[in-house]
Amino acid sequence: MLGLGDFSVFAAYILCILSALLCVVYGIVNWNKGGEVSSEVAAEEVRWNAEEKKIEDELSGRGDAS
């Protein structure tokens, strides 16, 4: 067991590696999925981003705050 003292620590050690592997496999399998953006969503995103930019400007004191 990699020189580890009991099964619970060994399990945690291995689960860390396995869960990272799960993340890698999931990411690769779904690499190109979920990228379809409809024009409706794109318009919403432009609106969202305009608002986000305004918030950032207000926080940072840059640009026209009014």
Binding site: L2, G3, L4, G5, D6, S8, V9, A12, Y13, L15, C16, I17, S19, A20, L21, L22, C23, V24, Y26, G27, I28, N30, W31, N32, K33, G34, G35, E36, V37, S38, V41, E44, E45, V46, R47, W48, N49, A50, E51, E52, K53, I55, E56, E58, L59, S60, G61, R62, A65, S66
Partner: protein, 531 residues
């Protein structure tokens, strides 16, 4: 410490501040911002998230704690990867992104408030962030300052003040919301620094199996406070049901591991990606990043005992004169070549700055958008000059509070302060946040009941049940004549163990007992969700 090191640190800080400033200056229109933010490369998104997630608190605080408590803390790393990355991105992230976009929500409180059509929820959540985030920020600040203290030989208080000024300048010059590319650069440095540290540690101690065996052979040197608590060997878990078992699994593993799902400064990151595709890709990068940056810390921390025992005949906590927060800085100073110390100082500065900037961004937006606009102005439009000024004052107040807390909290507190904040956020918000994302029947009354019950039980436990906090506040002592209401094992059980289930119960029960409100923006909120 050498002039070269100080020069390297300042050059690095200047580059980061300049990058942030340039990045910000170049995004003049919403369209530019779209390109810079929502089109972020998944590598950039994942490293930015990772750099926000992992801070000096994890590296210095939890690393040091692991040197005392042993490798069972690896369970926390497992939850950080499985819950904090996989479940967070695949299940919470996608819905948070979509619903946040649909409701035009820009902060975590705003997401909850708009989804449940409740100004109270938004304002209350905003206040929670404003009041309690400084505790977590202080933990991050202490972590960075301990590194500076040990490696640069500067008194701790001076480190705190100087680093706060540096972070303040960085936050102001670079924009409160750290630019994603800067975060990604910091994340890359953290990744390279931690993987080097792990490899060097294993190589120095004779390889993976040999290092673990050497650690197991030091059982006789484990401090009495730990052996009495239930830890008999650093490569074994604590005895089931022992005080250390409760401390490790209820506070650190459960509190921080599960708590990561309801972190306001992390949840907003999901809203800044363009589509689910970026989230899918980020899972791969994020999983590896957390494995290298967090799991390695819980391996290196305990192994410092082998190193110190072999070199100076003492275990790590003795070498650090009783302060676990000094273990990792001391190990770096003693075990690594001086050039690596320079690199690692940059790693630590990176980790602290990326987390602190996101914390102050969360505090700033909570003050302006959630507390002032919704709480005091009741959603009315106003000339925002006043809002900007009050927000600045709010951020400044919380920054000063952070510095004060960092100075006052003393040694060995990083992991505990982080666990308190993570646990509190999970106890109050995880159940309502999850229900808001996944349950259309969820009612406003259920959300308020979930938040308030989690909060009330948490505060009660901190004041009357959990030994460490109850002793600090002294309210139970004043009222009942003893530090905590109950003795035995109770004072070491984390408040989250009680508060989180109560919050779940109230969230579900009150929702089922109340009629669905007709004014919730369900159709709008869930448009396109699950496709």
């Amino acid at each position: 410490m050498s002039f070269g090191l100080i020069a390297a640190v300042f050059v690095y800080l200047a580059v980061i501040a300049w990058l942030g400033y340039r990045g910000y200056g170049q995004t003049k229109t919403a369209g530019d911002y779209l390109l810079a933010g929502r089109n972020a490369h998944p590598y950039v998104m994942a490293l930015s998230y990772g750099a926000t997630f992992i801070s000096t608190s994890a590296i210095v605080g939890f690393g040091g704690t692991a040197s005392l408590m042993g490798m069972s803390l690896l369970w926390l790393a497992f939850l950080n990867i499985f819950l904090g990355i996989f479940i967070a991105f695949v299940f919470f992230g996608k819905r948070t992104r979509r619903i946040g976009l649909n409701l035009d929500a820009h902060t975590f409180p705003e997401l909850l408030g708009r989804r449940m059509n409740s100004r109270f929820i938004q304002v209350f959540t905003g206040f929670m962030i404003f009041i309690f985030m400084p505790l977590y920020a202080a933990a991050v600040l202490i972590g960075a300052s301990r590194i500076i203290e040990v490696l640069l030989n500067v008194p701790f208080e001076v480190s705190v003040v100087v680093f706060s000024i540096l972070v303040g300048a960085y936050v102001i010059l670079g924009g409160l919301k750290s630019v994603m590319y800067t975060d990604a650069l910091q994340g890359t440095l953290m990744f390279l620094g931690m993987i080097t540290l792990l490899l060097v540690t294993y190589i120095k101690l004779g390889g993976v199996v040999e290092a673990h065996r050497s650690l197991a052979s030091l059982s006789a040197f484990i401090p009495e406070s730990m052996t009495k608590g239930g830890i008999s060997c650093w490569t074994k878990g604590p005895a089931g049901g022992s005080p250390m078992w409760w401390t490790i699994y209820s506070s650190l593993v459960l509190g921080v591991g599960v708590g990561a799902l309801a972190q306001p400064q992390l949840a907003v990151r999901f809203m800044t990606v363009q589509s689910d595709k970026e989230l899918n890709r980020s899972v791969a990068v994020g999983g590896v990043f957390i494995l290298v940056c967090v799991a390695s810390v819980y391996v290196i921390g305990p192994l410092t005992n082998v190193f110190f025992h072999g070199t100076i005949g003492k275990i790590a906590i003795a070498a650090a004169e009783g302060n676990v927060d000094r273990v990792i800085p001391l190990y770096l100073d003693a075990a690594m070549p001086s050039w690596f110390s320079i690199v690692f100082i940059l790693v630590i500065l990176s980790a602290a700055m990326s987390t602190l900037s996101s914390q102050y961004h969360a505090i700033g937006t909570s003050v302006s958008r959630d507390i002032i606009e919704q709480g005091f102005l009741k959603g009315r439009e106003t000339k925002s000059g006043t809002v900007v000024t009050i927000t600045r004052i709010g951020v400044l107040v919380s920054l000063l509070l952070t510095v004060l807390l960092a100075m006052e909290m003393g040694g060995g507190v990083i992991a505990r302060a982080t666990a308190i904040f993570f646990g509190l956020m999970a106890s109050c918000f995880l159940a309502p946040y999850t229900a808001a994302l996944f349950w259309k029947r969820f009612t406003r009354a259920g959300a308020i009941a979930g938040i308030i019950s989690g909060f009330t039980v948490s505060i009660f436990c901190f004041l009357f049940m959990h030994g460490k906090e109850a002793a600090v506040f002294g309210l139970c002592e004043a009222l009942c004549g003893r530090t905590t209401l109950f003795g035995g094992i109770w004072p070491v059980i984390d408040p989250m163990v009680f508060a989180f289930p109560v919050s779940i119960l109230f969230t579900v029960a009150v929702t089922l007992l109340t009629k669905p409100e007709v004014d919730l923006p369900l159709e709008n909120a869930f448009a396109g969700v699950g496709r």
